[in-house]
Symmetry: C2
Subunit: 347 residues, 2 copies
Amino acid sequence: MSLSQRKKQILQAVITEYIKTAEPVGSRTIARRYDLDLSPATIRNEMSDLEEMGYLEQPYTSSGRIPSQKGYRFYVDSLMEVKDLSAGEIAWIQKIYNIKLKEIDKIVQHTAKVLSAITRYTTLILGPQIQKSTFEQLQIFPLDAEKALVILTTDTGFVENKIIELPRMLSTEELFKVVNFLNRKLKGLSIDRITSSMMREMKVELVHQMDFIEQAVSLLEESFSFEKEKKVYLGGTANILSQPDFKDVTKIKKIFDVLEEETLLSKLLEEASAEDRMNVIIGEEIKIQEIQECSLITATYHLGEKTIGSIGVLGPTRMDYSKVITIVEHITQELNNILNDVYRKKS
Amino acid sequence: MSLSQRKKQILQAVITEYIKTAEPVGSRTIARRYDLDLSPATIRNEMSDLEEMGYLEQPYTSSGRIPSQKGYRFYVDSLMEVKDLSAGEIAWIQKIYNIKLKEIDKIVQHTAKVLSAITRYTTLILGPQIQKSTFEQLQIFPLDAEKALVILTTDTGFVENKIIELPRMLSTEELFKVVNFLNRKLKGLSIDRITSSMMREMKVELVHQMDFIEQAVSLLEESFSFEKEKKVYLGGTANILSQPDFKDVTKIKKIFDVLEEETLLSKLLEEASAEDRMNVIIGEEIKIQEIQECSLITATYHLGEKTIGSIGVLGPTRMDYSKVITIVEHITQELNNILNDVYRKKS
DNA sequence: ATTAGCACTCACCAGAGCAGAGTGCTAACA
DNA sequence: TGTTAGCACTCTGCTCTGGTGAGTGCTAAT
């Protein structure tokens, strides 16, 4: 069943007002501040209907109304008008975003900070995924008899480093032989293609070519066990504390506890932005119980054609969806430009 | 003027009790819970004296007493008995600290997390300083015509990478000439010895050796402008929210705002641990106004002989100094062991 | 279908009254 | 002279009360 034009107007008015004030909205307020040419009584009746239909809620008997989750959903999907940024706002963003950094992780961290400063909410950015890049070179520096530093670089300027245990009984010479072998084999391959089946193949080949098989294989395995965990960059976590929605310290505590769980956040962001377009998740649609009084707006960012990570803004369900969506859209665009500028493939 | 034995006992009792309960402590409580064989009235008189001398405070007329900053100071310096960890506690710490990581930044981050989990306060760790390590190798990978990836490695397994603008008109060949020159010159030098005077020297030398001076010099400069900013690793920031001392959201907000200022924190830690031993800074002794209701306990950690960073635990002034000091001592020791184990110099 | 009017509900606030914890002072005691 | 019992007093924190105002739901009139 669809809503009458008038009901939509009233729903929109209630939500807009509630987003602004964080207070339950009464019929008089609507009548006064939005010229719908209706008396409070009529608005009351409509609001009563809207409540019955599940779009509004009453925190307590005879209080004003607040939007329900369903209300927000409908607002975001069909009611909200996404306005463009003014030239002034764009200039302002430009000014504080203004990036001189070139390292991808720094860029992303700075973006999180700036985005949270602009929106006044908390920003989560799922770090760029090395998986999408192309293998450039693997290098190895022995540190002592047992350990070596392995550095993996990609065409996009990723540098991953880790320290591995050296297999016993492997001479320096042999070590470099294996490394050279790997470099020959892998050059130009995308990282996520270097799968376990591929590794198996290489093992077989190693068996034929070399006589120190076992050690070489374990070296190979260790070298490629680069962290699959995805880094999440946070910005403006303190902003949560400015929200009147959360004046209860125990509630805040729960949210912060979630924010300290990187794995949880990375899953959240990954699922949210699975479809590679702007996405809004409202309240209990979020799978993490502790933050179901929040909403999350996500988008993805790209390097060339490939999606390499995602951006999320987390605020109370009462957050200013339209404003945040515009800003996230803009920032994502900027980030894409910066990244593609710095890391554009050589020719 | 020094305190009588009895006054000391009473002061200690008040502080111990207040640390436990976070409530103003009255004379009856002391008489009941600590067997000093004194009547409440006598204790009252002594407490009154202690207040006059500045060791105690009364939040309001005829309430119990709470320790003043001076009180805490005296307690930490002369009263507190630092007890050793029990075998059980040590085993427990061992269990959750249990590190398999080898990369220095991961180790430090994990330490911050564990330390905050054990103490239930917030942990700040000033990241290991590359300055103290020894130059191993500089490498350069051209990304495109204008940019190149520079990787600096040290003997201790540090890997710093940055992207630089290539000077125009510098051929790949020339590029590698400069890099080779640098590697020859710098090999084995400690990073903090690579000062600007040293750079000047090298510039002079370059002038004599090569005919593409200008470009080489600018390359040199860019390559060595590695971040001097010190990274601070945080753990357990959410713990602040569990402290009954901070039930006021605006207070909490202020603290969190400070925690988001990395530069501020790194300065704080650096100053606090300047003397290279365990240090306790109480309340207004902290230079940052917003967190003057907190205390900070710091220690330094080492690689070989060299101090490479510092560890701090931040809690309310009412924090359990003795417990935290013991734990920080223990964890610092563990961290030293781990680091020296992983990064011990090759012979 | 809309609206004016009215009784009713509930949160919020201020003030009053009360219990409990704790102090400071005085006077008695060892 | 130091210690202690006793007592009046203070202040917080809690509950209860009544009043106010915002807001509703219902009914009846337009």
